[in-house]
Subunit: 245 residues, 6 copies
């Protein structure tokens, strides 16, 4: 089998995580995963949603969007259509859950961190790239809170990163780009923590059902790829002006 990109079945695309990309945000990271580019920012808001008021606990939430021409053909602007689509809502709920799985909400205190993941250019895997970059922005924003004395211990207790796998022409492959993704039989997204845990699995066999063997093969690929992502994340946090400056 040859992948359209010529990559090996277990090869990630070229990935860079550029922290400190945004002038204004408390934390930010531009993820480039091949031709998929996502800008992730973290904004600290001293107010919590009403269900957490007076609870002593904080919250992490996420919003996701695609620039209209981030895609091969232009998509309608969601703001102009007057609502966010189902795919958008599904992805931003996934990002928020994934980040909260590694956040000690008590340690964060009664404040909210809002993550924005905006796709500047799309070539497959925008949701997993968003999670990987969002974690960097979130971690930096929390370091800034620590530095400022607003909190007394780091609420982010582990890394969380995500990668897609799929079955393309009968083979399990890692990190699908758009060409593969649009022809994949199975499409799966794995969100993982650095300690080896699974945070979220979304696997879909819309074309046809898949076996447990296939699931396991994809899990193996995802776990191997995860190690690279965690290392890149740590490096990006280190090179952010807050640490590097």
């Amino acid at each position: 089998m040859t992948r359209p990109s010529g990559r090996a079945y277990d090869a990630l695309r070229s990935i860079t995580l550029e922290s400190g990309f945004s002038l204004h945000a408390e934390g930010s990271c531009l993820v480039r995963c091949g031709n998929t580019h996502v800008l992730c920012t973290a904004s600290v808001d001293e107010r919590v949603p009403s269900f957490l008021r007076n609870s002593g606990k904080g919250w992490v939430t996420a919003e996701y969007g695609m620039l209209p021409r981030s895609t091969h053909t232009r998509s309608d602007r969601e703001a102009a259509r007057g609502k966010q689509g189902g795919r958008t809502l599904e992805i931003q709920r996934l990002i928020g859950r994934s980040l909260r799985a590694v956040t000690d909400l008590k340690a964060l205190g009664e404040r909210q961190i809002k993550i924005d993941c905006d796709v500047i250019q799309a070539d497959g895997g925008t949701r997993t790239a968003s999670i990987t970059g969002a974690w960097v922005a979130l971690k930096i924003a929390c370091e800034k809170l620590l530095l400022a004395g607003a909190i007394t211990r780091q609420p982010i207790i582990d890394n969380v990163a995500a990668i897609s796998c799929g079955v393309y022409k009968g083979n399990s492959v890692l990190d699908l780009d758009y060409d593969e993704d649009s022809n994949a039989e199975i499409d799966a997204n794995f969100v993982m923590s650095a300690d080896g845990g699974l945070v979220e699995i979304q696997a879909t066999g819309e074309e046809k059902p898949f076996s447990r063997d296939v699931l396991n093969a994809m899990l193996d690929l995802a776990e191997a790829g995860g190690a690279t992502l965690f290392a890149l994340q740590d490096q990006a946090v280190q090179t952010d002006p807050i640490n590097a400056g």
Copy 2:
């Protein structure tokens, strides 16, 4: 460990699938899974979405809703709030994908079947109950099309059913009710086909990450429960007026 309901860790709730519940729909099924009751109807529409016009292929789609007081405390009516929430959109997209995974869209011809899953009473597991019942409604609607000569072969090529699993107080359990669900550490939904394939996996460790062992334990439980669901589905199709009458 004792489950709140007293059930064994691998025991389904009492489940009934009542077909022919609706006077008007081309196919219908009232699913009762313990105290979770969902009415599923299938409506045949001779028009397809525009992206399928002149393709010779049909479509299956789904909508999901909860009656405002199907829940413990009243939820706002989505029609009054003016939009469907993210959870609703996520669930109805899942139902549609799951059904399409076992539908031969060419055999269906250029028409659309719209599935409505409306939760009359909720006690956990409404999305999986919806999928299980939706399949019955869909299958009956297709049998009606066959009988009427509108199509020449059955487009539904396998059963699809779904069940939830989770980790409650450290143990993997099958078919969580609301009491368990709201206290579960891990929450997973498995959509399966009768031939043993997996159609969709959604597993979430919002509280904390989970291991592959836990994933496998839940998969074992789900597969065992699936057999019962497929049998109940076949029986419901047989007892529908279209077959029984």
Copy 3:
């Protein structure tokens, strides 16, 4: 004249009022009026709308909806279309006004009871069935408040029930089903209290104007039908678990 259903011109359809249908609601009633089935629930909310804050008075309000395939052909889901239609708003305003006409809002205290009327299956007369069933759900919810000591006297001071009349093939008839309704020259809905009063009249001659004689003939039919409805309501309240248990 023969009615499509074979009923006498002054005959109601077979009507049952099943109280205690909902596990969660403070009061509930499933009305079956022939093939028209409406689930009515009453939910107690300890907050009042802002215009009543600190007034010592409570409020009763209603919402109405139809399941998309409760009708002969599928109707669009209002939640998906993003707004409730004019007919829906008109009906739920009518239900709320009708119930408030027999409610002592001071006796209710500063709380709100929200009535949901959801049409499970439609065959004409859904708005009048909703009113008749809503009253049962409301009454039971108030009995529960009394029993719990939250209020000291019953705020529901009389029964309220509703029935449709019309002119079908030149004759005034009671309780139209869909077949008659869609061919009726005149369409009228009467909301009545048990003491013989009129709470609301909505009579429409869209096809052509009608005379006062016709109005009086329809009123006579409605009043005769009302007696049956009030008796069924009292019985439904008696058989609710709160009283029967």
Copy 4:
């Protein structure tokens, strides 16, 4: 009993119907009913709603709105709030039905007349004033179609006009202004045709139920008032530039 306005119980307010008020509309009428002023315009649209395409039949529909400060205190602008309220939808549906009851839709041909009733100043009775004025605008627009040869016979087969009645301090009174209306026990709107028929009755006893005697007393008042309205309507049509010029 003294009415706040000093009028006799059966006295209308001072009413004028000024046709030809609008430079652009095919028919128009400014109704002044005391301090209630409504501008009614009729716009001819050569397209019909899709359900009438190729039916050979036309349609008459209506929209209603209030200027934000037509009322005692300012109301939110519906366009700014992003939706029309239930009261607005209810009123515009009533206006449309009332006009269609006296329109021969076949004679109108496959075109639509859209009536806009916009309340410039409100002092009670805006919906009945709207109907009375809307008929004038509609009739003139149809005369213009006749004159232009677009249709061959007048589709408006009778006058339709409306007036409110109520019970104020125990007495049935005609044509309530805002002071009376906001204190009325019973509130009723009667839409009548010139041949003595009833087109629509909406009677509400929100405060308390009412008797058939009260209904009959209000009907007597409305019928007496109707004669004046029909005469004013005919005169307004005669003085429109289309006839007077």
Copy 5:
């Protein structure tokens, strides 16, 4: 060059400002500028927007709307379409900014004046007519506040009025009506204060760019026309019942 209306290139249309037009509003003015008629009302609201709470400062804001058949052909009702269009929002923002430029918000105290400009009939120049009339309504409302002792000095520190200019068949002309406006090469709106200052300029050469000479020619025309407008405004304030009565 002959203008369609026969007016000289520097001639305003016949303009009247009728104050006290509305029974309910704190200030009101019906502007008639040829066949363009706009009703402007000022409503005093004792609450300010949240960003001004506890600031000691007030606010002036505006909303703009067109009756559906104020135009040559009927436009959709914005309330029915569910949102205000871009042109509407742009105009109402312009009106608000223009009025605030001559308002001492501290002198107004912590309250808000909401201006509504509703176009009853349109024949070009509705936005400039709105500003000219809105100022009259605002001034009168402030006089009423002064008279009532709610404020101690007049917050309106100068007149503000507006007029359109354009280039029609190569000549700069003042106060375009619809016929000219829809054929103009350049379209400009000038908002001016009585002391000779410019409050806002919006000049557009959508067809083709324009020179500074043309801009200056239009500015000369606008300034000459402004004098007439300021005089009419002062007279309208004087003849309002609050002063004339």
Copy 6:
């Protein structure tokens, strides 16, 4: 006077126009004007709006958006709020008009070019930067159409670029950044064509009215700045892969 940035009163910020930034768009340009960064893309759509169907003419339109954290403090996402604000609509209408002023719509043929201007980072002057960059994206998309033989002559007949001016601490200054803009007495945006024409002027004295002298001073500054912008635009078109490759 010292400007916060230390720039001379007539100095532009450091400006770069990077064409070919987007992988997918037919034309693209990332404008960096100091810390204001806007991504402009041009998308060719072979369908025109319905009002141009069968007219032989094309259309150019624009949409504008800001990433939620492009600003100093996070702004709500318009897609999540369900509508575009008035400022957004105003800006995107301005961009569209400005581009159409230099486009020969007949030469474009019956197709539409949609420009998206998305603010990645904001520091004042986003609307003028958008226009300047949008022109580059538009020009490149048209060159691509020419190259592909879809059109036979270049429809873009001149450059169009924009710059802001204002009065800061009593002095007229060019190209305001956020610090100046939020303290400016006068705020003006000038859209200019390379042949020395004015395409659009928007000048606002919300704080207080301004004189014609001030207007002229700002115009002088804008015209001087324009020359630099036009040169940068031409260079960006030359270095786009379509020309440079």
